[in-house]
Symmetry: D2
Subunit: 341 residues, 4 copies
């Protein structure tokens, strides 16, 4: 923790800050500058709350220098964590697995078709929502447990691993039973009760970045899961909210190298939500691979024109097949490989 004094602070002001730091059990270290003095605090500052020092006379600002996360950081573990959600489907290594499928599980025919289509094109896992968080209470909310049964069926038929979203404790228990990886959606990124629940479940978790969450907040939310003993966490960039209405979201590919530098956890990219528009999914999926993503999450629907949700951003089967063909050479160019079952 650093206490930046005002240029006009008196020696008495500085002394008062030093006394306050001493009373907190740390050692103050004043650094006079030509413009102003800064007082450092020597000792472990992880849990120090300096807000009352901010109110002392002559204090301009408090700066915290400790990173607030711990187990998620590369300093805690230097090697990449490899998260394996099913045999052959691992995130964090050289291979880049692609998870694909519809926004929602709608019925047996739709999800089986979707599974076959994405399997044939090279995906290794199937996505599909049984519990859907919708802005409006009047929108389709998912098939619930029946949807999970259908996903299980799709797995049995295709061998694809299953990734599906949980919205509350009961849903998380069910997803843990039926699926290979529990998705926590953007709206629940800071639902700490739910994070603790999935932290206790010992099942791989895919944690999506909140609508306006900083990279640091994403990592802190992951820390909640690791703090409960579950380090099988895959992070996911899915676009964030900005002031530009030209896209549903702004796809922050920068977050990929940023997270990979700060954390040992794998991070994947969701260009479907990241852009919100079908035509931009292929270029952004390619860009994500070139940027070094550890996986992709892509919406594909057997018949997007009849999708119950997110139709406009779902790829047609043929588009997805073409895209998968393009991704291979790009992965090769940076020494990686699109994962295959």
């Amino acid at each position: 923790m650093l206490v930046v004094m005002q240029a006009t602070a008196t020696q008495a002001d500085i002394d008062r800050v030093c006394t306050a730091i001493t009373e907190m059990g740390f050692q103050p270290l004043p650094m006079p500058g030509a413009q102003r003095t800064t007082v450092g605090l020597v000792g472990n500052d992880r849990r120090v709350d300096g807000s009352h020092i901010e109110a002392l006379p002559g204090v301009s600002e408090i700066i915290y220098v400790s990173s607030p996360f711990k187990q998620v950081s590369r300093e805690w573990r230097a090697e990449n964590t490899i998260v394996t959600i099913a045999p052959g489907v691992s995130f964090g290594g050289t291979d880049v697995p692609v998870i694909a499928g519809p926004c929602s599980v709608e019925n047996e025919k739709q999800i089986l078709q979707a599974a076959q289509v994405v399997r044939a094109a090279g995906a290794v896992a199937l996505r599909g929502g049984a519990f859907k968080p919708r802005s409006s209470p009047y929108s389709f909310q998912g098939l619930g447990k029946e949807g999970l049964e259908l996903l299980k069926l799709a797995k049995a038929e295709t061998g694809l691993a299953i990734v599906t979203e949980a919205m509350d404790d009961d849903g998380a228990q069910l997803c843990a039973e039926y699926a290979d990886c529990i998705q926590i959606g953007a709206r629940n990124m800071q639902n700490y009760s739910l994070l603790k629940t999935v932290g206790k479940l010992r099942k791989p978790v895919m944690l999506k970045r909140g609508m306006a969450a900083t990279v640091q907040e994403l990592l802190l939310s992951a820390e909640y899961i690791l703090a409960e003993g579950n380090d099988q966490v895959i992070l996911c960039e899915r676009g964030v909210r900005t002031w530009d209405p030209s896209s549903r979201n702004m796809f922050d590919l920068n977050a990929i190298p940023a997270v990979q530098k700060l954390s040992h956890l794998p991070i994947i990219a969701d260009p479907s939500h990241g852009t919100g528009v079908r035509d931009r999914v292929p270029p952004m999926a390619r860009a994500a691979v070139a940027a070094g993503t550890d996986g992709l999450l892509i919406e594909v629907h057997p018949d997007p024109n009849r999708a119950l949700s997110d139709g406009a951003q779902s790829l047609f089967p043929a588009q997805f097949t073409d895209l998968m063909r393009e991704l291979g050479p790009i992965a090769s160019a940076i020494g990686r490989r699109i994962a295959a079952l």
Copy 2:
């Protein structure tokens, strides 16, 4: 729903869109313009998902014109909803109630002192968190049920109504038992499972705006509560996230008249989170009253320098007393009154 065609769209493109609208069970209404044609859809468009029309050749854009909320809107109910959380503590009328107290309940002495201080200065309700959503799992998480017991004690001693936050279903049940109004925090504004739970509890709910939630999303989240049969909802503006680090949040006072125009629900303002800095709380509290807020939520701590959380934005008792004195004449100037017990 409006379908805006490209300037280069052919008559065949326009016909194809009209056919698609007809197939959806609505009547198409083409409006030729000098630049381009727009095709309107006549009929109830609340639940229409036009995303597959967006993909037809010659289509430039889809514009939705129906407002997605229903029971929360002024069109549904023209008169203000008055939410009474305790005898004499009503939001949505001429009176402006002030809720004040510490960020967290820390211990008996602290919460009782806080209650006495804010009661003496003119507050009509006490805030204080027993369950605290914290970005880091290693920060103080609140006293839990013990905190609720202490709030009940403070109510018994002072007569103040109690407002406290719930983070999950179990917490919501407990808060309903001990408190007068259940707060849903910014991070849980789109935790739809929790919204449904409090919608069923028939207890007043204070719903805080999410960190980066639009006014429309705030209203849609309230719609979840009303859709379950509970219309005792108070909305709360508490500052939102922007790109300017000069404040912890940007306090969007504009949201007050905006919500009051769109909805019959009361909206209050939280200048403590709205600014994040003690010195700015009084000017922004005054501004909120001048802007027509239906209530205030203010952090006051008997000894902010020793607060376990949010010390830097908590008012000292004397500051709060001064502020309460300033608010009266401002409320009078616009024909309102600071509520008194």
Copy 3:
């Protein structure tokens, strides 16, 4: 400047940073912590660029602690600067002057009517654009010099001071000749050539905050003007850009106390651009006064329905008259007064 080391940094890494700081001519001051070491730099750090230190092994982050502005800061001058644009029209003291008028000067009749209307209601200065920055090159761009002549005429008839915008060097010269205060618009807040030009003109300048400018950037742009020798600068909050489409802009009233703490320059508020909607102008104008604004800038048009620009946010004459009546008691409540000619 502070150099935050990684938790895994070796003593050799720390030594290398200390050597680099010494080579830059400053004295390094290492502060070991339980988690990580921070190295302070003792000496004047105003112009230090530590970016190459950031690249040294073991370095996690560089933190700058010097404020980058100088002459605009309260540390440079503790007393408020009073900017007087015409006899009796001063910003920065107890009085709160109101500048009102149409977005653009359209013709003689319109501007004279506007001037009479706002004069009668109590404004002390007239606004009106002769040079208009418009997003589209095909929108009305203003009357140019003819507009300035009409403003001069309006001044002669009403005694109101004149505030009008300049967009380039030639325009600035003309405005200096015809008007009492030169406005620099939001889009030109970082047009440094223009800032230098008006810094040399020795005429009061009203500098509007850029669309997405931080408070610090606003002050740095003002610093450009002061650095040329002109300290007659009035800052103006006019709403900023965010992700919420429910308002044209988000009106950041928080910026008023924030600027007043950091700088001695007066800051006024423009609720017309700050909200973009006529109905929200009165509540936000009241809020600005309650928050302590040093002045108001309000769009009023004799016939908003026929305005060539910004009609939807211009007040009708009667609305403005009502608003002026409401503002007095609010100003009184905080010990100020709406300025009168």
Copy 4:
């Protein structure tokens, strides 16, 4: 233009809107819906300002359906515009030219070294600022005309095309004389006087996206240049401002396909400003190519540790050489080629 009525609007309200549209010279077309009526306006709506209709009783909202840009749009010209700034250096075709060099021209040795280094690695144009827009008036402002002379010298020695920034009219004239392409920086994207000036110069212009400019605003600013008769415009995505402090900017690669769909103008990407951190430049440069960028603008300095500006985001020569090697296969994967002299 569409006028959305409130659900509670009466037939008289609708009639009043129809009359107002008729008075404006257009034909109204009411579309009754189950929820509410919408009134369309038939006829050319490019310049229609409906703000006074917004104020009529019963009106909920005005929606504009015409795109406000004209000459920059793909509807105006379907084929890509190819902008050739020097023989062999063309933007908008299959080839992807790379412009590289230091932030500022510092001295002869530095700029010649930089030119040789980037030439050897495969760049086809040299960037380097002679006029520098800096947030603080006390930062290095560039060498001015002397810098232009040095750029000319670098061109003579290496054959690289020259791209350099102009900040005002005089600078634009000089840049036109000395350089091959005039850059308009992010801070001047809405400096309309300067846009008009470069529109008249008939020299290629590279227009950088403003700090918080939407894609539509970027295109409208380009429209200012085309409206003066100059269609040699290259757009540039350089990162935008958001609420996440983890990066200097958020790099909006989504803007590349978005612009390419809306406009015939080429768009290039600047990953140096887009990320602000050296380590993220290579992954984001690769991502930009995979996303289909029409060119790259990259900061490279012969000795970044001693750079006078932007050192932390400038690549070392060896990093740039490595990056150029990686880009080729990625370009090939999507059927393009990194341009070579």
